[in-house]
């Protein structure tokens, strides 16, 4: 599994994203409340660049059994990606769609945080981010 440094942790703030090209693939790297996720930038529906969509929450309601079917709740703020074309909803954490999690999903990739390794020849790039916090890298595993 190839590892790709895509950004420093400070570069993608909570609620933000960065689109990167890895091995010829466009991939969106998201920061959801301090945790990073990577999704393929292709919507399974009609191929839109799904990672350019809006990031928000979703409206849900209760159920008939306990009488709360009409009670609306807004949840998962900042965890839902909506495709910029048709508005299909996906969980950023998993890539799974809301309407059919098992059958319709965006491919996702493991993400880890790595420390600066001065021996790996990335010194020039590291110097672009001089503070100590920025020595932590976001790594996407393809």
């Amino acid at each position: 599994m190839a590892q790709h440094r895509v950004a420093t942790v400070d570069e993608i703030r909570p609620g933000e994203r960065k689109i990167v090209q890895l091995e010829g693939r466009s991939i969106g790297v998201f920061n959801v409340k301090g945790t990073f996720y990577a999704l393929r930038n292709v919507c399974p529906h009609q191929g839109a660049e799904v990672c350019l969509g809006s990031i928000g929450g979703m409206t849900v309601c209760g159920n008939q059994e306990d009488g709360t079917l009409s009670e609306l709740r807004f949840e998962k703020a900042g965890e839902i990606l909506r495709c910029p074309w048709h508005g299909w909803e996906f969980e950023i954490r998993t890539g799974k769609s809301i309407f059919n999690p098992l059958g319709c999903y965006i491919k996702n990739y493991p993400v880890t945080i790595g420390q600066k390794d001065v021996a790996d020849g990335e010194t020039l790039r590291v110097e672009t981010y001089p503070t100590s916090v920025e020595e932590k890298f976001i790594i996407v595993h393809l």
Partner: protein, 350 residues
């Protein structure tokens, strides 16, 4: 740039802002046009336009002819884009104001999208008319009929009456006379002065939007049972964005009842499906999308899609159909008819 033999029959140019339209409106109407182009209700609560269709300088989607070409026509190799502005002129109670709004959109469309920024002539326009006063609509058609890039007349699907009724005949007479198809596009159903095609008013955008096909079904039944195509043998009708998969069973029912009730409508001299084949074209977006794609191909067969269906994307709206992704794999001949030949013949394009 490679052209792929695609004619997109539903592209929506928008003004950068309403001031752009206002400058074409004479007084006293200029100050009565609202500053936000909205029908005021039944708006998509997620987003109205593709989020990636804002112009590079942050402008309104599809408000820049050059960027439209880049993102749509050049990206997919589209030969021609048929432009349908959204004036929503049918919603206004004042017939003079409605006609003035329609005229302003036509002047704007010609100025910004057809006469200018259109050197290769690949953008073709629609003449917006307001049917509130058919005589004013005819005057507007006459004003544009000779324009080299205006290829059809357009009204909203929203209406106070089924469009086959006789009060609209002056409009159809002019369309037939000038060889201009008349297109219907959704947008004002149940809005302003228009009736709702559903019983009463839908609660939500999704209910309203799915139900748009109801207006188109009602108008089509009206056109056929009123004998409009016998009265205007050269008239062509284009049903835009009203769906298409409903057509075969509707025609089965209509034909079955015509066999029994011909007595009531003796001007219906042919099988309804023959009028559709000879006079009606229907655009593809939003294409119905069954899990089993074979079922859609069967519906194409049932409706005679190779003769009547025309590709459309609805760019830049949220429910855009991609030319490369919306359709299941088609045989080459029917693909060429749907994506190119049917529109080329209808609009007399090269």
């Amino acid at each position: 740039m490679k052209l792929n033999n695609i004619i997109d029959c539903d592209v929506h140019p928008h003004p950068r802002n309403m001031e752009e339209i206002r400058q074409y409106l004479p007084l006293p109407w200029r100050h009565r046009l609202q500053m936000v182009n909205s029908r005021g209700m039944y708006m998509n609560p997620i987003h109205v336009n593709r989020l990636d269709s804002e112009t590079p300088d942050g402008g309104f989607p599809c408000s820049d002819p050059d960027f439209m070409r880049t993102q749509l026509m050049d990206a997919y190799g589209i030969n021609y884009a048929i432009l349908l502005p959204r004036a929503f002129a049918t919603m206004y109670p004042n017939p003079d104001f409605a006609a003035a709004v329609a005229a302003a959109y036509n002047d704007w469309l010609a100025d910004r999208w057809l006469d200018n920024n259109n050197k290769d002539g690949r953008c073709k326009g629609s003449i917006t008319v307001a049917p509130q006063d058919p005589t004013l609509a005819v005057k507007e058609i006459e004003r544009w009929a000779g324009h080299p890039h205006m290829v059809q007349v357009m009204m909203d699907g929203g209406s106070r009456a089924p469009y086959g009724q006789r009060q609209f005949y002056p409009i159809y007479e002019a369309c037939a006379h000038y060889g201009l198809p008349v297109a219907f596009h959704p947008g004002t159903e149940g809005v302003g002065i228009n009736e709702s095609p559903a019983p009463g008013y839908p609660s939500t955008y999704i209910e309203w939007h799915v139900g748009l096909m109801l207006a188109f079904q009602a108008h089509l039944i009206s056109f056929i049972t009123e004998g409009v195509f016998e009265r205007f043998p050269k008239l062509k009708v284009v049903l835009v964005e009203g769906g298409s998969a409903w057509l075969p069973p509707l025609l089965w029912r209509l034909e079955a009842e015509w066999k029994a009730l011909r007595e009531e409508v003796p001007w219906v001299k042919k099988r309804p499906s023959e009028y559709v084949r000879d006079h009606v074209r229907i655009t593809s977006q939003p294409l119905e999308n069954p899990d089993n794609k074979q079922q859609l191909l069967q519906i194409f067969e049932m409706m005679g899609a190779k003769d009547i269906l025309m590709f459309s994307s609805d760019y830049p709206h949220w429910d855009f159909d991609s030319p490369t992704r919306a359709f299941p794999k088609l045989e080459e001949e029917i693909k060429r008819r749907i994506f190119y030949e049917n529109a080329k013949e209808l609009y007399n394009l090269d």
